[in-house]
Amino acid sequence: MTRPVGIAAYASRCALGNDDQQIDQALADGESAIGPLRGFDASAFGDTVAAQIWTEEDVDEDDPAIRILGPHGRILEHVVRRAYAAADLDQLPAERVGLYVGMGMVDAAVEDLVPAVAASRDADGELDLAKFFKGAYRLIHPLWPLSMLNNVAVGQIATDLDIRGDNLVLASDAVCGVRAILEAARAVREGIVDAAIAAGVSERVCPASLARRRVGVEGVQPMGEGGAALVLTNAVDGVALRLLGGATAHGPRDQRFASERAGEIALHQAGRSEARRLTDARTGVGDLGPGQAAFALARAAHDLAAGEVGLLTMDYDGSGMGPGAGALVVERPA
């Protein structure tokens, strides 16, 4: 039996705004969030612009939550929390709510490693592993390992919201954001959970991610030298899904699907393609990586008019580094 899956709520955050209203207004006004890169001197990379989310609370290194979540985990938390609240998911049994996330590359926070590496250098400035192992490694923050495990960020969010159901964390190419939505839709459709949050979050804008773009990979032209012109960005989005007209009725929430912003997700195709990425930077938010698909979905759900097909969104691998693609269709429920 194929059961329809609807969009019960959505939340987005990107460099254009911290909530959907801000983003909608910025898009309507044709604003661009691409601007000078902040946080470190990137002039030597030749890449001096990015679309970054930048508020003090997101970069406060003394905040233990950020230590565990990492900066992009913190951004993810914001949108998941908002989608969860908007869909009233706290009204459902914790075991019947799922969480499916596509996450961008987790690069080591170099600044966390620097004291240990500095103390491990020999007279020529080269790394001496014996020094590192002898004790210099103790200068690494003890929570650093957790920040390298992106599932820990997702687990922390689940703990905070008391989500206990089916779950998945995929990484790290752009298509994993689409797959997170597809697996969430599958879980709702098959009755594994009653509702699911599907989300995606980009990788960090940091020296390593800039360097990765700079060196180019296996046929993809480096940024600024032709080919896929990607603008790095921090962004994230979340979509809450649940059955339409299913066995689990929860009063007011069912009425939400009759509202003008309701949407339905139906899996029509999933597969891969080796096609080069089709980057559209016209929205001024840059390449969202794994966040791209859910972001587009959220925007589509927001703009749906009665009876119309919302959007066909396809997401290819973010850099052409490997095979992988998925596709989904967003439709208004009949």
Partner: protein, 431 residues
Amino acid sequence: MSERVVVTGLGFVTPLGTDPDALWEAMLEGRPGVTAPHRLGPHDPPTKAVGEVPAPVLDRLLDERECELEGIEDRRTLFAAEAAADAIERAGLSTDANERAGVVLGSGPGVHRLEDVARALDEEGRFDPARFAANVNAIHGESLIRNRVELPAERVATRFGLGGPVHAVTTACSASNQALGMAFRMVRSGECPWVVAGGSDSMINPMGLVFFVLLGANANVDVNDPAAACRPFDRRRSGLVMGEGAGCAILEAESHARARGATILAEVAGYGSSFDAYRTTAPPPDGRGAAEAIRYALEDGNVDPNTVDFVNAHGTGTKRNDPAEVAAIRSVFGDHADALAVSSGKAAIGHLLSGAAGVAFGMAVLAVQRDGVLPTLNLTTPDPTCDLDFVPGKGRAQPVRAAINNSFAFGGQNAVVALRKYVPDAASEQA
């Protein structure tokens, strides 16, 4: 559309070798694969016991695969490619016309090579982005590109021309089981005729060898007897021992397997996952999240708990995991828990992290197929909080009608796959 899902091929790379028959015998006999670290041993790392893939095996893999894989040095990818190749070959699958066949592999996080950070420091020991950028072409691939989580899955798909979905699951110690579960759903729903699923990992590198030391999760090690360091369910257990390797399986639609006359090793009956929603690095003492995942897997596959004979446990040998897992097993199986054979292979080969459940799944498949249960090594001092039949020392032959493969991760993700002996039904025979 709902397909029965069967296992038709297995591939392994472990500290005890790569051949399934030899690995099964070694595990059954209780042969230890944990040693002192060899590769980085001369630098005296704080991790004193590891499950390393032996150098001769590694050399053979490099010889056989290096050209095909364009000089890949990332060990996770090398291991995954080997395990996947063996699984595909043993399944008798053609590598042609695989437009809808997929790959889902669990894989661990990438880490920077420390020498790349060292080169970017200024005279005062501060990180200088300009130096980092100036040497960008000298930065090792493993610090930027080859540490990508999806690289093993991509390489397997490319190598074998698999045209279906290609994904990487990154949920640490539960990653392989989640990959297997995702693949199971893909095949069951008809999305893919077959999927290479499992996982690989290796953190036997400078950052990896301090990773669990920083977290305080490493086992205490008697340097004269590193093989005894990991002691799942033993009262003297003190933590985990890291290992490396890969385990891959071919999950295939029963109709597809039968149509091509494949040998079916076992049936994947069901899959369940859950969150603990408790603490980042510790499970709830009552094992409630793990219990939910076990229960979901059994319900998903309509598996009567009383038909389960073997539990391939997560069994890390940490103080908190083991009794929580026992509590979970008891809460699901009730009185039948005392009839279960429960074992952990981590004492023998170490904790393969994102690849752990991939190898454990393969072992569970062989247990179901061969009617045998594997042992738990180093279990010499019983713990009253861990009071199941852990098959200490050596494995044994016994009927295995159904089995479950447990895995639980830092972060609270639990994933369990249920297996049962394959028995064709009337519809299968008719087809």
